[in-house]
Symmetry: C2
Subunit: 454 residues, 2 copies
């Protein structure tokens, strides 16, 4: 049922029946597998109500392009009938002149609503809110409210909560749910079935992450977006879930050391993929070039003790690995608000002893490795092998400690200067630690091996 | 309002008032900042209804320990009054004999329900479901259903949907929502206000990830857990959100190259923190030791051309970085079901040209760097510097291509042998690529520099 093929005219009816009967989420999944031409063709054959349902799914890929491909009159009818937040999403991604043309064909009140939503920055609460919520004056009764809901019951977004506003000032005063509403007697005042507490609200500029945290903390199904006490719209939990999935993807991509893709991996064009990856890769490469400079400045030591080079990759990677651990811990703790910007010193006080212990563990393993190889004759590190082992062990303690400390401080530093702490990727930390790691290694070597090898 | 201090007897009343009036989510946040002793003391002073609300919050830390610290009779009253899924969570984490003692004090039907939920594996749909849902026979009317809901309306979990079962077989046939219910006339049959389609369901063993995907795909507020056609319970969207946040944390920690913490970063004991991090760090260190072996086998080349060592860190890190990018892309695409296990060859066919292009870009940058340094006299790479530049450039193409390929294949390989693909951490990929990177570098050098430097 999920695979359609380009259709001949007489098949169109059969396909249309499938489009009309399957669960809309499955229909959307099937459409996403089709070429844009076939999808447009299929959508033209679908009954209008179903078309609205399909476009209301945020999972529909290329929705703006598909809407643009529809006849103009059908497209403006569609935008009018679908939920306001999805209509705004579609318009946001349309290019001019299509966007202005479509907006111009809408009724003035809807156009004004859409323009005001589009005016808010992407990712803000106001940019993903819907304006289709139920609000009633606080002097209504339960019965009158129920009648009103029965009448306006058109779109699924209205289910979440009923917002009660002051009849004069229109300021939000309380909120209640359908469940509590139906337990009241018809003649009871609406306020009698509302909890005696201001509802939790967000501002139009609250960002997606805070929004998700508010909804999850207070176990809400929707949260009202309030400006100067007036309710502008609501953000619903299903939009938040989609948002959370998107954010996780972005964070994983960035932690991998690249720009976040905004399309599925297999659908991304080759060139776009290169663009997203080459930027960071080159930046990291250029920074990592400092390792060549560092190595150059130790060239005379290297010539005298070539044995030191054997452990360079091992030692450098250990610093990077411990840094990557610390960074992932701090990024996540910051994202979950377990710690704030002011807690950097508490984190540093944790990472310092942690790094020392982890470094000592690796140092002991490293010393054992050299001793065993020497003892069993796998390799001859020369007459000064105990000193070389001491150098490697000591350098590991220093580098792992430095890695843990700088890995944990990098997200704070990025946040402090206004960047997203999640930009502190594993490769970023590794690069940061590599140059210093070399300097630590050679400094330790100069102290321990002076007068013998160096 | 969020900071309590250990309380004297006469302050207890004031604190209790705060506990009774603030939003329960804020109360929980405040309690989480208290020591266990203070929290227990405060909880004993709280009215029973409020106590139930507080324990119903999954965000309450150490809930099992706090429940255990309450007087036994109060604890069993609490478990009876709170939502079944949360009660099961608490019992699951209690040690014997407290668990059996508390279970023994409960009414037999509740005990049976809890024992059956506890019998399901952790993370399965059945283990996080609640059994408090509304189901009515399909021969009821709208009016009778509304009356019934008004009567059972006690716990917040019942709000989500009304499940309609066959009056004889008790098999699930339809579901509907409160919103549709109130639009019906009291004498209409309940089936007349239900969509004409089987509701989306999951099985008791569906895992958390699939559960989240089902709820998000079909925009549900709750999904029924169905076994052989019979509804056992429902999983609600607020539990799914908590689950998603937890999973993201685990994934980020693992991608950073460590075991996932199961407690907040600042609450984790020092020893537990070391344990979670040292394992992977040692494993990676031991694998990375192969780089020392690889270097040893090229020692004679290193002695002849010490200039080659200068670029080792640069070249190795580039392979690790491109691998880390590819891994993060593939982990996320697998998690979102954009690709499946069978798509590995399609991914490989994408990563091969991507790696070649990215490697060529870095190769050109590397050659330019060497040429510029030589030209401006920053460093003298010797008479054969064009050959060295060619070696570095060519090796970069090979290593970045190898990094992209192996980074993208690692999650598939892990999934294939039954591990979580998200275990493919950035440090894991870097380690995998490092040894091969060295071999590629020296092989290229042997070909290009034979007869001159080597």
């Amino acid at each position: 049922m999920n695979d359609f093929f380009p259709v001949a005219d007489d098949e169109a009816v059969a396909i249309a029946r499938i489009l009309a009967n399957d669960h809309v989420a499955d229909v959307v999944e099937a459409l996403n597998h089709e070429s844009r031409e076939t999808a447009t063709e299929l959508l033209c054959a679908v009954p209008f109500e179903r078309l609205v349902e399909i476009f209301d799914q945020p999972e529909l890929e290329s929705a703006p392009e598909l809407a643009e491909a529809l006849p103009r009159s059908k497209a403006s009818k569609l935008l009018t009938a679908m939920s306001v937040d999805r209509a705004a999403d579609i318009l946001r991604e349309l290019d001019e002149p299509a966007r202005s043309e479509l907006l111009g064909a809408l009724a003035p009140p809807l156009r004004a609503t859409l323009l005001s939503i589009l005016g808010y920055p992407e990712g803000s609460a106001a940019s993903i809110m819907t304006t289709e919520f139920v609000s009633v004056p606080s002097d209504w009764t339960v019965g009158r409210t129920l009648d009103y809901i029965r009448k306006v019951e058109r779109t699924r977004e209205t289910v979440y909560a009923i917002y009660i506003v002051d009849p004069q000032t229109h300021l939000l005063v309380r909120s209640t749910g359908l469940r509590r509403l139906i337990t009241g007697e018809p003649d009871d005042p609406i306020l009698s079935v509302a909890p005696d507490r201001m509802p939790v609200t967000v501002t139009p500029l609250t960002d997606r992450e805070n929004l998700a945290q508010t909804i999850s903390k207070y176990d809400l199904l929707a949260v009202p977006v309030v400006d100067h006490g007036k309710i502008l719209g609501i953000v619903t939990i299903d939009d938040i879930i989609d948002t959370m999935i998107e954010e996780t993807t972005e964070d994983v991509h960035r932690f991998g050391g690249m720009e976040a893709l905004d399309e599925p991996y297999m659908k991304m064009s080759f060139l776009a993929m290169i663009q997203k990856r080459a930027g960071w890769l080159c930046a990291l490469f250029l920074s990592e070039m400092l390792t060549a400079n560092a190595m150059q400045s130790y060239e005379s030591e290297l010539e005298k003790a070539i044995v030191l080079t054997l452990f360079i990759p091992l030692i450098m990677s250990s610093g990077g690995n411990s840094g990557s651990q610390a960074t992932s811990l701090v990024i996540r703790a910051l994202a979950l608000r377990e710690i704030g910007l002011g807690d950097w010193w508490r984190v540093a006080l944790r990472e310092l002893p942690t790094g020392l212990v982890l470094g000592s563990i690796l140092g002991v393993v490293g010393v054992c490795r050299i001793t065993l190889w020497q003892y069993f004759g796998f390799y001859d590190y020369g007459p000064h092998w105990p000193l070389i082992a001491a150098t490697v062990g000591t350098a590991l303690v220093g580098i792992v400690t430095f890695g843990s400390l700088s890995g944990s401080m990098l997200p704070f530093a990025l946040k402090r200067i206004g960047f997203d702490p999640a930009s502190a990727s594993a490769p970023f930390v590794a690069t940061l630690v590599d140059v210093t790691g070399l300097v630590i290694y050679f400094s330790v070597a100069l102290v321990i091996l002076r007068g013998t090898l160096l």
